[in-house]
Symmetry: C2
Subunit: 386 residues, 2 copies
């Protein structure tokens, strides 16, 4: 309920260890309100005082910086990919504490995949971080996801339809469960912990086997009435010469998705198997041909991003894509292309902040999003007793 608590916790997250007096200025709240909010958040184990963190130099009573307490709670995350689930335990700053990948038993059976993942995640928690109280469980998946109902409407690669995730896993784990799409989860992560920290608008373009986008305006993700906002997979922003499985021409996904591009590179003789990792590895190993090939993809992604950027005009554009995230030359190609084709200046175009941990962070961010929106809702009876 208390709006102040949410604002204060968000400001602490952004500004690191920070004194209450500075918080009051940063949040536009009275000192009294900040004290009250900090007390409440401290009682819940979300905030700690760290007197030694920022030594006080000046005159007067020394300040007592507060910071996010990452030692008490964890957030669990499940990312449902094509061949495996990524299980994660993430702290309140989005730091990945534990990560494990488990292959799907029976990919056609959502119930089995999800309950197995949840069970293993609980076991992982009991084994590795028994002292951390789990706040909730976030589930991220590529494709069309309806976070309002906790449903994977259409999983991008597994063919699942209208899979009710939230109710299933809440019953199974007893934790609050939130579900969201890949692209939106990562957008929120960028906004909380990454490049878009503190920004109120953001366009996040995710290019993997799935291609998707997330639109953040006014500080909140825009879902659309069908939760389909940002579905750019089949926009005609790609190569017009490519015919997509959907029947249309020039679909973005058919042009630049991992699978599509790997196939294209394979046919062009750049790699010997149609696997994107082969292409990236070759580029990392120094192959000029592979580098040029990936830069070409980055430019195609950039051309599409330029259109979306100019239309939406967000504060930041973040692109999550294997090549640009690992190869500076690709990131530069992307940036140049966007700058050339749009009003965006180079400094608002950024590669994902999360490196290898993208999937792990995404899954956790789904739940952390909810925490930072309403921190006082964490009324965990287990914790209250300690």
């Amino acid at each position: 309920m208390s709006a102040a608590a949410s604002v204060v916790l968000g400001a602490v997250l952004r500004h690191g260890p920070i004194a209450r007096s500075a918080l009051a200025r940063a949040c536009g709240l009275s000192p009294a309100a900040v004290t009250r909010a900090c007390a409440a958040l401290s009682d819940l184990g979300l905030l700690v005082e760290v007197p030694e963190a920022v030594p006080y130099q000046g005159i007067g009573r020394p300040h007592v910086p507060v910071d996010i307490d990452t030692t008490r709670h964890v957030v669990a995350g499940i990312h449902v990919a094509h061949l495996h689930c990524t299980l994660t335990l993430v702290d309140l700053r989005g730091g990945v504490l534990v990560r494990r990948e488990i292959p799907h038993g029976t990919p056609d059976d959502p119930h089995e995949v999800l309950t197995t993942a949840a069970d293993q995640l609980l076991a992982l928690h009991a084994e590795r971080l028994p002292g951390h109280i789990p706040i909730g469980l976030g589930v991220a998946a590529g494709g069309w996801v309806d976070p309002a109902h906790g449903v994977i409407v259409r999983h991008a690669s597994l063919g699942w339809r209208d899979t009710e995730v939230r109710d299933l896993l809440t019953a199974r784990t007893g934790l609050p469960v939130r579900v969201d799409s890949h692209a939106r989860a990562l957008a929120r992560a960028e906004q909380l912990f990454g490049a878009a920290r503190g920004r109120e608008s953001l366009l996040h373009l995710f290019v993997g086997n799935v291609v998707g986008a997330a639109i953040v305006t006014g500080g909140a993700a825009h879902l659309g009435p069908r939760a389909a906002a940002g579905d750019v997979a089949h926009l005609a922003l790609g190569d017009p010469a490519v015919t997509c499985a959907c029947g249309k021409r020039g679909c973005l996904e058919a042009t630049v998705s991992d699978r599509a591009w790997a196939t294209r590179a394979f046919r062009a003789g750049v790699i010997s198997r149609p696997l994107i990792f082969d292409l990236v590895d070759a580029a990392l190993a120094g192959s000029a041909e592979a580098k040029a090939n990936l830069a070409e993809r980055a430019r195609l992604v950039g051309r599409a991003a330029a259109v979306l950027f100019d239309f939406l005009d967000p504060e930041v554009l973040v692109v999550t894509e294997l090549g640009t995230n690992r190869l500076p030359s690709c990131a530069a190609a992307l940036r140049d292309e966007v700058a050339a084709m749009s009003r965006a200046s180079g400094d608002v175009v950024l590669a994902s902040s999360f490196g290898e941990d993208v999937l792990a962070v995404a899954a956790g961010a789904v739940q952390l999003d909810a925490l930072y929106a309403d921190p006082l809702s964490i009324r965990n009876p287990v914790w209250q007793g300690v």
Copy 2:
């Protein structure tokens, strides 16, 4: 400040004459809160009781419907077009009470154009509606406008740059002044009084001599850090064969703007002068060639709109364009094209609600937007005295 007053006034606007009890249900407020809000709004002359409006049939104490009081206040509007200003006095329901067009004296002198318009508008008010208290002045213009600073950054056709409108006209008229772009003003009008009534997301595409869009998400217009959101004029969504004055190919504005399309139709021999009105008049007079020509434009607009729609996934798409607004066949062509090229079903694609009055309503809506956002800010000392 009171959030309830804004919510209540908005609900009254949407639901016409409505009983307080029904308002409480519609707004999710307690009856007490509604009573208080209505009393405050009544005192300000924004609301009236209309006991006879909805005769009560059932048992129990009869309800007393309340409605927007359109008899006390007016909002002034100035729309700055290429050759003239449209001056308007609009009531609180967006109804145009007075409209007058005045040609620019010296189009190159923003100061002269704006002050003349403001002076004439004040005179018009004194002459025609002296009993109505002016709440404020809205200014709408095509191009790049920064409403946060009240500045026309770049007028689309007059070549004005960084014209400070708000401060100039506040000083001149003593009224609160708000400035916004054409596309956003009309989007807000659609949301308040038109097709998008009560919707929280909306994409409005405006096609005139200027081509622009407005993005509404979460109930509020998205501006972007430079107030440039929705600038679709130079997106490559038009005919790739067309080269734009900006140097790029396929720009939307170079393809479908009034001027560009009229020129194209003129060259094709459909009309004898490159004037869009000739084309529309011919079509209205029954010319099959002109109709086909305008339907082709509607389809091109639809193709561009489809991409933007699928990306943003708004609840409604509203297109303001001369042909589709006046010719059912064009509206149908647009609808069909959007439905074919996007996920949008036909019923979310709508032509503008305001017919001949588009410009007049747009100018007024800029200020009405502010009124409905914070009705209690109308502390007009003149009114308080009555």
